[in-house]
Symmetry: C2
Subunit: 219 residues, 2 copies
Amino acid sequence: MRLVVARCTVVYAGRLDARLDEAIRLLMVKADGSVLVHADGGSYKPLNWMSPPCVLVEREGVWEVTNKAGEKLEITLHEVMHDTAHELGEDPGLIKDGVEAHLQVLLSERPQVFGEGWTLVRREHPTAIGPVDLLLRDHNGAYVAVEIKRRGEIDGVEQLTRYLDLMNRDPAISPVRGIFAAQEIKPQAKTLAVDRGIECKVFDYDALREIDDGKLRLF
Amino acid sequence: MRLVVARCTVVYAGRLDARLDEAIRLLMVKADGSVLVHADGGSYKPLNWMSPPCVLVEREGVWEVTNKAGEKLEITLHEVMHDTAHELGEDPGLIKDGVEAHLQVLLSERPQVFGEGWTLVRREHPTAIGPVDLLLRDHNGAYVAVEIKRRGEIDGVEQLTRYLDLMNRDPAISPVRGIFAAQEIKPQAKTLAVDRGIECKVFDYDALREIDDGKLRLF
DNA sequence: TGTTGGATCTCGAGC
DNA sequence: GCTCGAGGTCCAACA
């Protein structure tokens, strides 16, 4: 990886046309040939860039980065403040913990955490507009649809509402009520859910995992 | 901006849980406090990051980056290969040219490019499900709704279809027919549009711009 | 191989 | 402040 800090101007012509007027920026050239132009702010997105595979040709203070699709990034260097290269090697990459999926499995295996005598009908219960995370029956045999999120926000409540509207038109399972389950539920989402007669349940993921591991059997 | 190249491990706990096993990476600390962890490949997206506003606390080879929402990025430095800081200053920012908005303005100023004697009713004509890009009347006074995209794909046709369904329920303007206008229209989108009785029109942006500049008056 | 939907989306406009 | 739509969206699962 090559790191260059320089006063530069940039022109991009490709899927759109754009330019960057003269300023000091970080130019990052990765081992795969990709080039990133970063300012000292904003988010993780560069001001401008060229994705691999691409070719960088450098001559007389001008970098010309092109790819097969004919896109072109032209960087004119007016003053170079810093220029270093570094061997980084391969990266093992990001490892994600799939919380929502795992939470769904944990809860489907322990429907009794929702209430005494509750049972699982099925996970990913299909409807015309998509699968409901969990379909349960309570101790009276009444159907309950559960929407599971890691962080409960308004759109999750909306989603569950749509499922409930649809499922309550099906005489085979109607009436179906709803539970919005998450590790954390935003106040706005809770307010909306309660207003719509949807129960909110907050679960501690680590505690559920311990139940799953057989360390706790308190329910 | 501070640039650190180091052998490091990273743990992120926030909107999801993720980790990066030990490897050499670039750590970029921007003036606004944001931190980016880049590998020597991949796309312009960092492997891991924390967006501003956030706070970086450094002690004994461990960086702890936190924000108000309680998200945490923890970077453990095992070996530092490079560590420099640079004054970049404010950035004038990216200037885009040739966006959908400009195309909309150009077409709204030249409704006659759709047909002889056509007039503009209004740009961003409001409907219950959102604004239609252009509402025109043809030489007979019949209403025409225009959806403008840079690249015409299926979802654009779907969007226009929804607008047309809604607008045709309004006796004040019904019947309304549709035109799907873009710089380029995908075959699938064209097929769907034609099937629904929607006319497709492909515009050359540069030619329209020249009309706008007064260099061409051929319509 | 195209297509679809999610994203620690980001970004900007409109309200 | 937020909500909604677009993005050089990117990205991966899936048909």
